[in-house]
């Protein structure tokens, strides 16, 4: 990354904590824990011990039992395993599934794949704030409903769903509840031992761990199981074959421990930064905050303005690294499906910018973002056709 870059794209990935990098490096160094943890010799057992230590750290972060955690390559794989695996395990009982169109593609595409395989999927639309109406969910549950999947924190808007209540509704009918918690694990408090959640997907790189390692939580209760979607060795309770990447798992465990220790400070820091950013741009004419302002993870601020084009706004923002709501490089020119599901017009969805920040973000970073955003909007509006400036 350029030294001058101001990185405000933490929802895409977070910088690795130096303590995580050190822990990983110790595995990768000569004499480090490189051995296959499935091997029964002394070196393999040393690696296995590190893997289990990391699993315990992650379990501590989640308030879960370590044997409930399956290592995967990340949240996308966890989502696929949870959804396809649970649907397959319960197929003899019914083939009705429920999710939302505002889920991450790893979830929506998994459900679409199941639809093509004969499953009946109900897509529950959010309200204008991005929230799921629990009554609506309750009304859509059927005798043959087997799985509900709703993410905890939306990756584009930061909107927080009430997964406690959703889980309660599902548990009352013995329906499995999966949540994609890629954006919330390590950032929001979770205590899975007291929450009605059956399946939870996570990835380490969203909380200052390495990319390429994640986990799936599978509650230890009757009727809650998944079928494997890959086949090979018997690793991870025969649910996820493949040699475990020890250095990445150690990194994930270290990141989990740090996140647990620093969560309260991180949350307060994120809230302070979000408030500073919003106060700095809220008077831009026509600006809209996308998603709920009450039920939102404070590390994400997603805003739209009429009259500007998203890709140009992104270039005008440089050196700030944020995310755009427009699929700028696609031939379709399609705007964010999440924001359109919230009722935003194509133009507003396309002008959306997602700022996301966290532990290492400084107030100066936010001030640069404020200055660049205001300049970019002013610049683009000054050259826009007068009747499409929209403000």
């Amino acid at each position: 990354m350029s030294a001058a870059a101001v990185y405000l794209d933490f929802a895409a990935t977070t910088p690795i904590d130096p303590r995580v990098a050190d822990a990983m490096q110790s595995c990768l160094s000569p004499g480090g824990a490189f051995a296959n943890p499935a091997s029964i010799h002394i070196a393999g057992r040393a690696s296995a011990a590190l893997v289990e230590q990391a699993r315990q750290r992650l379990a501590d972060l989640l308030g879960a039992e370590p044997h409930c955690l399956i290592w995967t390559s990340g949240a996308t794989e966890s989502d696929n395993l949870a959804i396809a695996g649970a649907a397959g395990f319960r197929a003899h009982r019914g083939k009705h599934l429920i999710t939302m169109p505002t889920e991450h593609k790893a979830v929506t595409e998994s459900f679409r794949h199941l639809e093509k395989s004969g499953y009946d999927v109900t897509w529950l639309k959010p309200d204008a704030d991005g929230l799921l109406a629990i009554d609506e969910l309750d009304a859509q549950l059927r005798e043959d409903t087997q799985l509900v999947s709703v993410m905890q924190v939306n990756n584009e808007t930061g909107v927080i769903q009430d997964i406690q209540r959703i889980g309660e509704v599902c548990r009352a009918r013995d329906i499995l509840f999966h949540t994609d918690a890629a954006q919330s694990v390590g950032k929001l408090p979770l205590n899975l031992s007291e929450m009605p959640i059956d399946l939870l997907s996570l990835t380490a790189h969203k909380f200052h761990g390495p990319q390429g390692i994640g986990a799936l939580y599978i509650a230890d209760r009757p009727g809650c199981k998944v079928l494997p979607i890959m086949h090979g060795g018997g690793q991870e309770r025969r649910l996820r074959p493949g040699s475990l990447p020890v250095h990445q798992i150690v990194g994930a465990g270290t990141a989990a421990g740090i996140a647990r220790d620093q969560m309260a400070d991180d949350l307060l820091h994120a809230a302070t930064l979000r408030d500073r950013l919003w106060r700095g741009i809220r008077d831009v004419p026509g600006i809209l905050c996308n998603g709920s302002t009450d039920h939102v993870y404070p590390g994400i601020l997603n805003v739209s303005v009429p009259g500007v084009e998203g890709e140009s706004l992104m270039l005008g923002l440089e050196p700030v690294c944020a995310a755009s709501g427009s699929a700028c490089n696609s031939t379709s020119g399609e705007s964010s499906y999440v924001l359109r599901a919230l009722g935003r017009s194509d133009a507003l969805a396309q002008s959306a910018i997602r700022f996301s920040f966290g532990r290492t973000t400084t107030k100066n970073d936010i001030d640069v973002a404020i200055e660049r955003y205001r300049w970019a909007v002013d610049h683009l509006r000054s050259i826009a056709p007068l009747h499409s400036a929209g403000c």
Binding site: D9, A12, E156, G307, V308, E309, G310, E311, S312, M314, L315, G316, E318, C321, A323, S324, G325, S326, A327, C328, N329, S330, T331, S332, G333, S335, S336, D346, A347, Q350, R354, L380, S382, I383, A384, P385, L386, S388
Partner: protein, 129 residues
């Protein structure tokens, strides 16, 4: 969400300082205006040409579009100013596409520039009739 595409220096320069962005002064013998948009591309162009005799005396544009389109409009205005009006009809955007290293998936947006120039020429031809 997709990050910013790569832009060459010419795109960055014209994006940051589009000297022909805005409106033409009302002192030309003839002012032609083209208004084209493509909702699927999220782009909208208003392009103006001030004509003196058979020459394009000045050009200006307003645009809502991507950086490549903004830069393409600026570059086209620079190339066409002080050229014969007939240049509007024969303008080849291939040179601009090459100069700005426009990626192939953006070709549709650059075609909007050609549409605008064709509309200006049609308006000129109509005025001449």
């Amino acid at each position: 969400m997709i990050a910013t595409a790569a832009y060459n220096e010419a795109v960055r320069r014209h994006f940051a300082d589009p000297r022909h962005a805005g409106d033409l002064p009302a002192d030309h013998e003839l002012t032609l205006v083209a208004d084209v948009s493509e909702s699927a591309e999220g782009a909208h162009i208003v392009m103006s040409a001030g004509i003196r005799g058979d020459t394009i005396a000045g050009m200006a544009f307003r645009v809502r579009g991507c950086p490549h389109l903004i830069a393409a409009l600026e570059l086209a205005c620079r190339k066409l100013t002080e050229q014969p009006v007939a240049s509007l009809e024969n303008f080849d955007s291939a040179n601009i596409t090459e100069e700005l290293s426009v990626p192939v998936e953006k070709a549709g947006r650059i075609l909007l520039l050609e549409d605008a120039l064709a509309m200006l020429w049609a308006r000129y031809a109509g005025a001449a009739d």
